[in-house]
Symmetry: C2
């Protein structure tokens, strides 16, 4: 049995779901993979931090109002000091995404990798803004920088290429990658106004209080850029993705699509052209013969076209914080097994 | 650069596509994986066999009427002798499937594994009839028995669980797994009679001269049994799958489905119940909101339900001998890299 002290940076919906999953799966992982672990540190932006090298009582941390309330050292300082105190071998990062420059997640992951920790991230920002740099640090330190949950939660969109499809070249892909807009469009088909549908996605915790990142297609564009970076090896900024959101889709548009037997989807497309990529995010009406037609509510899909496999699609139904957390747990096990 | 002499057992559509793919991808695989190879033997049931430890001219073998016509030793005897003469480290098997007992493929793969070769198979029969035995031989010899192409051709249905989804437990799955029946049903929607549609699948080389293995659901049942064996760890014979084929679907049935906005699909379902599995293959009418609705012609799909990910589907569009061959090439690279 090999033992791994773990730290969590970020303790929101995803961080908490990960903590719970690590509790739930401990015995199973012990016996199936001869891997044991304890959470020795939790670091948050505004709810404090705690370190206990003998292992934090995760159930208490999940129930606590503030991390200050639970037993352990309370590091006052930087992420560096936190990592050093914790003795961790793996860092899990799930802080809010920063579309502009990926900070502070990029720095946190860099620090972890430089100190010889595996860095597991659910964050799109660092993939888009610092993939080469973080990968180089991981290779230099003979550790892993994995980020399966950054796109399509627990569905292994990166892993399937990295681990199972050697010798393939990705030529293009298309998908429905943003859950919030897909829920909004599905609600509008059921009679909601655009504004009511947006409010609903905010109520269920899917959209932020400012929902423009989803509605205007930024989240989808960042995911497209992340897939292009990792799977095609082409740097593309989210700004370089031709982008049109769903703000202009009216109830009339929805009814017109229905009368033609179609549905509106915020479709992402990217195509490799030599050493560059042409990419676009925009609403499209799709017919029932499209694999996107049945992708409703928060379900997402991506279809890849490669030099050998003409079409390979992955669909993830009903994602949530626990499936995102699973992607991180899978990254951890794939990094160490 | 590590060098692997390879042998091909079976040189039909898939074997030839594999030979061609190994030619096409040689330089790319050399440079990406530091793996080099040569085909040192080809063995067929009725077109002879040839061995050349310095490497067979594969292009000539692809163009030859009979393997006797190309340069090399002509082994007269058993598969044992063939393997020994070839000096191979990897055996690729793509002979016709035997639903009853998986022979002679089981013996061929056993011989290869016992002699320390990786055994790569596109064959469902051995998975269903001898998975435990072949796996044990592989483990004992520290080699691999991989068979990605046995279900859904080049789509990594086995690899995605083995390599990317640790710590998950498969609870149930459903899918459209037989291409021939799906082409027949799609043709019938376009106006073909059942008999005409069957003849079409025979003309394009999809169905055999006796098409009952596909039409009566045996092929689908064997695939269900293979998935249950490998992904759920439950032994299930194809006979234990409740099975109804598509023979009874009439033109009237097709038109009735269309009038309701639905389509007929030969749907496979399996659900784990404790240590057993309940499995069924039968025609169903599916609505446009089902992910199966858009799966037409030879496209196939499988949707998995696990203890964490509620729904994860894989779709493979437009498969053919080259995608099946790719599954075998991927198995080879995954076995040795």
């Amino acid at each position: 049995m090999e033992y791994f002290p773990l730290v969590l940076v970020g303790f929101g919906n995803v961080g908490k779901a990960l903590a719970q999953l690590l509790l739930d799966k401990k015995e199973e992982i012990n016996s199936r993979y001869a891997v044991d672990y304890a959470v020795t540190g939790i670091f948050t932006g505004s709810h404090g931090a705690v370190v206990d090298v003998t292992g934090i009582d995760v159930q208490k941390a999940l129930n606590a109002e503030r991390l200050e309330d639970i037993q352990g050292v309370k590091p006052a300082g930087s992420i560096d000091e936190f990592i050093a105190l914790s003795g961790a071998r793996v860092l899990f990062e799930s802080i809010p995404v920063n579309y502009q420059d990926g900070q502070p997640a990029v720095d946190i992951l860099s620090q972890a990798l430089k100190k010889g920790l595996h860095a597991i991230s659910a964050n799109k920002g660092p993939v888009v803004h610092a993939f080469d740099e973080l990968n180089a640090l991981a290779e230099a330190g003979r550790v892993r920088y994995f980020f399966e949950s950054a796109v399509m939660d627990g569905a292994p969109v990166f892993g399937v290429f990295r681990e199972t499809l050697p010798g393939l070249n990705l030529l293009s892909f298309e998908g429905v990658l943003n859950s919030t807009t897909n829920v909004i469009l599905t609600r509008m088909e059921r009679g909601d106004s655009f504004d009511d549908a947006v409010r609903y996605t905010q109520q269920i915790g899917l959209a932020e209080s400012d929902p423009s990142g989803d509605i205007d297609g930024w989240d989808a564009a960042v995911k497209v850029a992340a897939l292009c970076m990792v799977l095609m090896g082409v740097k593309l900024t989210p700004q370089q993705v031709l982008r049109k959101g769903i703000r202009s889709i009216s109830g009339d548009d929805i009814r017109r699509a229905r009368s033609e037997g179609k549905r509106w989807k915020l479709v992402c497309r990217a195509q490799k052209l030599g050493q560059t990529v042409s990419a676009v995010v925009k609403p499209e009406m799709v017919p029932p013969t499209s694999p996107f037609f049945s992708v409703e509510d928060s379900t997402s899909i991506v279809c890849f076209r490669t030099d050998i496999l003409e079409e390979l699609c992955l669909v993830e139904g009903n994602p949530g914080p626990r499936t995102t957390a699973y992607g991180m747990m899978a990254d951890f096990l794939n990094a160490v097994r």
